[in-house]
């Protein structure tokens, strides 16, 4: 079983976003970059499948700038076998361009399964997985919380509004990972040591012209919170009155 995990490096979720001087992207100073949280589930699932099947190979595929190497090393330390780093400048790329570049690379690769995160927590686009399915013309199930792989088919649970869809399809396929799929492992010290010797190929991506243009980036409107109605359960009737009469929400 050959599995490719598309993984992105993103600012960690603690990051306090500061808008950069161009007014269109964030200021990267002091930002701590990590493996996209949903991609950790994707990596874990790939490793689990490989372990269950008793053979296979897990390849990490990342498009990103130099700094992305740190995230790639983390995934290799978790247990992935090798990695391909499609190197770019540190510039925003839209989902069209990223998916096209990843699909271009994937066309020359062998795979039975492609795993991605459901969403990258920087652009919050939630597009790449479904785009890859369409571009490669293979089945795709997004936002998956349970995955079973048979010889040449998959069964995936998707939690949608009002219920769970159980989706079936043939391999190769694209699956996008949602929280709940598994519990990602931590890299062991041995894993970290071994990661240094694992094959890591750097390549030039094929980048098409983008289809979206960011006009500007702004901060969301500030919330003026901080009004304490009172202390203890005695304050509750006043709270309910305010919600009913002032805020008119109940």
């Amino acid at each position: 079983m050959k599995i490719v995990v598309c993984m992105k490096q993103v600012p960690d979720t603690e990051t306090k976003v500061r808008i950069g001087p161009d007014g269109k992207t964030i200021d990267p100073t002091d930002v701590n970059y990590v493996v996209n949280p949903y991609d950790e589930y994707a990596v874990e699932e790939a490793l689990k499948i490989k372990e269950e099947k008793g053979d296979g190979e897990v390849t990490i595929l990342t498009l990103g700038p130099d700094r992305a190497i740190k995230a790639i090393r983390t995934a290799l330390a978790m247990g992935a076998d090798k990695a391909i780093h499609l190197k770019t400048d540190d510039k925003y790329l839209d989902s069209y361009a990223v998916a096209a570049a990843l699909a271009h690379e994937l066309k020359d690769m062998e795979y039975d399964l492609i795993l991605t995160g459901k969403q990258a927590v920087d652009d919050d686009a939630a597009q790449i997985g479904a785009r890859l399915g369409a571009l490669l013309d293979i089945p795709c199930a997004t936002v998956v919380t349970k995955l079973t792989i048979e010889d040449s088919t998959f069964t995936a649970n998707r939690e949608v509004e009002g219920g769970v869809e159980i989706v079936e399809g043939s391999l190769p396929a694209v699956i996008t990972a949602q929280k709940g799929l598994n519990e990602p492992r931590y890299a062991s010290l041995k894993g970290i040591m071994m990661a240094k010797r694992k094959p890591l190929e750097e390549k030039e991506p094929q980048l098409d012209e983008e289809k979206l243009e960011i006009l500007k980036m702004e901060y969301p409107p500030e919330r003026k919170g901080g009004r304490i109605v009172g202390k203890g359960p005695e304050a509750v009737p006043e709270l309910v009155r305010l919600l009913h009469e002032e805020a008119k929400v109940i």
Binding site: P11, T13, E14, T15, V17, K24, Y38, S95, Y96, A99, V121, D122, D124, A125, A126, Q127, A130, R131, L132, A134, I138, C140, V143, T145, E159, E161, G162, G163, V164, E165, I166, V167, E168, G169, G180, E209, L212, E213, I214, L215, M217, E218, Y219, P220, G225, G226, R227, I228, V229, G230, K231, G232, P233, V236, P237, L239, V240, L243, V249, I250
Partner: protein, 327 residues
């Protein structure tokens, strides 16, 4: 035709989702600004009965894509029909709801057309005849405005970002049945089964009121209180990641950066500290209240109304007060 907008309106079990009225409204507003017309496309096993309803929201025509194959979501089949509709209508704008289905479908359509897509938009407007989309990034810590360099301009709209607006009460739109030229073998990922979460539970992303509990709830059994409160208010119950990771609540209840993004009219944070990742998921709620015993908890900085109290004392009183109000 110039200025036309195509919206994909979602239904389930023969009823339109709230999201369908929202996206129809968004489509009508954008079509008005572009000087064109709004057409809706709806999928299902039998939908021509309900399709005309969207006329009330200002949609001038509804395309009904009916097929046994569409009893459940059938991505490749839906994509094929949408591509055919786009080819015929030549819309300048195509809008999806940012539901799980819409978020799965829109990127596939965009990929097949080789165009851009602005996902999960909280605002849309027309400037100089071009669509400008507003959308949150970094879990709402920043908002970007986007223009398109490709046609059609495709966007998915976040739930509750547009308020459904009835233009003409009871107006029926003409319904046109579209030929569904899809063979079963073309549907590559089939929904084998749909397990409904019973009890008419309100979905977090659709709820007008959310009652959320965190680590302060101390255990799964105490969420019964929140469920009682939620029932009284017609609300949904949410949770912080701490409560989910402890196994007290299912993953689907998690609100936050790696959970659901919600923007109800009222969000109640009970025993939740207000970590940055939690705030990311609920910071755009209209009104936020917090009940926490720690006056220093960061949630109070975001809450419109806060009570510093032990939740085990405060919540039972809250339930009684709401009962009085509803009586």
């Amino acid at each position: 035709m110039a200025g036309n907008v195509l919206v994909i309106a979602e239904q389930q079990g023969g009823k339109f989702k709230k999201a369908a009225y929202e996206v129809a409204t968004a489509g009508r507003i954008i079509a008005d600004q572009l000087g064109g017309e709004g057409t809706a496309l709806v999928f299902g096993k039998e939908v021509s009965g309900i399709a005309a309803e969207l006329g009330a929201y200002g949609v001038t025509k509804v395309l009904a894509a009916e097929s046994d194959l569409f009893a459940n979501y059938a991505p490749e089949g839906f994509v094929k029909v949408i591509l055919a509709a786009i080819d015929k209508l030549k819309p300048e704008v195509v809008l999806f709801s940012a539901t799980l289905q819409g978020k799965d479908l829109a990127p596939r359509v965009a990929a097949k057309l080789g165009v851009g897509l602005a996902s999960d938009c909280t605002g849309l407007r027309v400037d100089n005849g071009k669509l400008i989309a507003r959308r949150p990034v970094y879990a709402g810590k920043a908002i970007i405005q986007i223009a398109f360099k490709s046609m059609p301009q495709i966007a998915s709209v976040r739930l509750k970002a547009f308020t459904p607006e009835v233009k003409e009460e009871g107006k029926k739109a003409p319904v046109e049945n579209v030929t569904v030229n899809v063979d079963e073998s073309e549907i590559k990922s089939r929904v084998k089964e749909f397990q409904e979460t019973g009890g008419g539970k309100i979905d977090l992303t659709e709820a007008d009121i959310i009652v959320s509990g965190g680590r302060g709830m101390k255990g799964p059994e105490n969420f019964k209180m929140l469920e009682e409160l939620a029932d009284l208010l017609g609300a949904a119950v949410g949770a912080s990641r701490a409560a989910v990771d402890a196994g007290w609540r299912p993953h689907s209840d998690q609100v936050g950066q790696t959970g659901k993004t919600v923007s109800p009219n009222l969000y109640m944070a009970i025993g939740i500290s207000g970590a940055i990742q939690h705030l990311a998921g609920m910071g755009s709620s209209k009104v936020i209240i917090a009940i926490n015993k720690d006056p220093e908890a960061p949630i109070f900085q975001k809450a419109d109304y806060g009570i510093v109290a032990d939740l085990f004392d405060a919540v039972p009183v809250l339930i009684e007060e709401v009962k009085k109000l509803k009586a």
